[in-house]
Every structure is written in C-alpha cells, then in structure tokens.
C-alpha cells in the first residue's frame, strides 16, 4: 500500500505542475500591454450598461436537488451492485423495491410538472 500511495502522490504533484505549466509558460512568453479598454467586461464590443446581474431561475436549484437525491441513491446502490453476483435471490427483490420507490418518486415529480424547465 505504501508504494502505491507514493506513486499516487507523485502523480498528483506532477499533474498539478502540468496543469499550471501552460498558463505560466504563456505568462512568460506573452506581451504585457495592458490598457483599460482591454480590461473591460465583454459585451460584443460595446460598453456594458446596467448592473451586471443575472436573472435566475429556481429550476437550476431544483436540478441540483434532484442530483443530490439521485446521487445518494446511486451511491447506496453501489455496494449492492458490486455484491450482486454473490447475493441470493431476495437481494434482487430488495433492490427492485429500492429502485421502484425512487422511480415512482421521479414519475411523481414529473407528472406534477416540477421538473418542467421554463
């Protein structure tokens, strides 16, 4: 185990180096002629007007919520999926129950229109 961790640590460190290298390289090689016009926020060449505020739809939040719920479900299923080949028959029934319950939940929120994107 120790040796494996050593390799992983070295790999991670080198990945960090490779990840940062392009931008650092570019910083070294690129011209630095900054001007206030260049640093303006982009809006198709025009100056921005109005506060930089974005209208936000609650739908984004709903999808994140759905992700958390289904994510927890999927992760709970993971050990079952791994042990599946070794398990007796009732395990299949149990998992079916688990999945049906969640499937029902999905169908319910679908029919209620809560998954609808405006």
């Amino acid at each position: 185990m120790l040796e494996q961790y050593g390799f992983v640590v070295i790999f991670f460190l080198l990945t960090a180096v490779f990840a940062v290298a392009p931008v650092v390289l570019a910083w070294i090689l690129s011209p630095k002629k900054s001007s206030s016009r260049k640093r303006e926020t982009y809006e198709s060449g025009l100056r921005t007007f109005g506060k930089t505020w974005i209208e936000f739809k609650p739908q984004y939040y709903l999808y994140a919520l759905a992700y958390v719920v289904f994510g927890v479900e999927s992760v709970l299923l993971l050990p079952w999926a791994i042990a599946y080949v070794f398990l007796p028959f009732y395990a299949v029934v149990e998992a079916t129950l688990f999945l049906l319950l969640l499937g029902f939940g999905l169908v319910y929120v679908w029919k209620k229109g809560w998954l609808h994107w405006m």
């Binding site: 609650p58 994140a64 927890v72 992760v75 149990e94 998992a95 129950l97 319950l101 969640l102 809560w114």
Partner: protein, 172 residues
Amino acid sequence: MGFDVSFGFEQIAFLLTAALTLAAALAMVFSRQVFHAILLMIAVFVGVATFYVLLGVSFMAGMQLFIYVGGVSVLAVIAIMVTRGFMGSDRPRPARTTYGAAIVAGSVFIGLAWLILRVPWPTVPLVAASENDLALLGQVLVSRAGFVVPFELSSLLLFVVLLGALYIARER
C-alpha cells in the same frame, strides 16, 4: 488510554492532511467573500476524503466527494448565485453572532474530544476485511440479518426528500 505514536509515513500524511484541512476550514470561516468560502469548503471536503483514503476506506472517500463536492457544494453555489447575484458582497467581520457561534463550536469540540478520548475503541476489526471488502459491504447492506431495513427505509426517505424539496422549490 495508551497511544502508540510511531512516526512513520502514515503519521506524516495524517498530520499534513489535518493541518491543511484545518487551515482551509479556518480560512473558510474567516473569509470575506461567500464564494471563496464555498471553494474552501470544498477543500475541507477533499481533506476529509483524504482521511478516509488514509484509513483505507477509499469507497467512503468516493462517496464523500461524489455527494458533498458534487452535490451539496453545487447546491450551495447555486443558492449563493440566487441570493447575491454577482457582486460577491463582503461579509462584515466579525458580527455579534460570531462570538456566540465560536463559543458553541468550542464547547462542542471540547465535549466531543473528551468523549472520544474516554471511549475504549476496539482495536480489532469487528468483521475481518477480506480481499473484496466492497462486496462484503454490499452483502451486509442487503442481507436480512444485516442492514436491509435501513437500506429500504433510506430509499423511502430519499423519496420523501425528493417530493418535499421539489414541492417547496417549485415554480409557482
């Protein structure tokens, strides 16, 4: 309460991870911008995941990252974007409530530390970890003598959570 402090690779790894995680947590509590706080929170989650890996339960680490970094943090970011729009406003430091919060957190810490130090933790594992202990976890989770009832109940719980959360957040 005898500790066997051997100064090997594992100790160094643990101390390093602990130091980084605590630093991130402190930075998160004291940070001025909420968005930075969230990024630091992710760093703390990664630290916790690293602890799991060092303990040998890399599956828990994966779960931690998948749910907390992938789900909870994203939820938090979206919530921030709803309430703050763009200009990540600074939080005034420190507010009146901060001192109270610090006292509560401190007391909880002391209480937990005392408790943890007093409990005689078993040093021998309850179940022998075989070659494929993830499969073993799966078996324990679903077997009738195991955790099948909590397993199914958690599905029911998730169902309720899904319905409840989406009901509250629905488009009116």
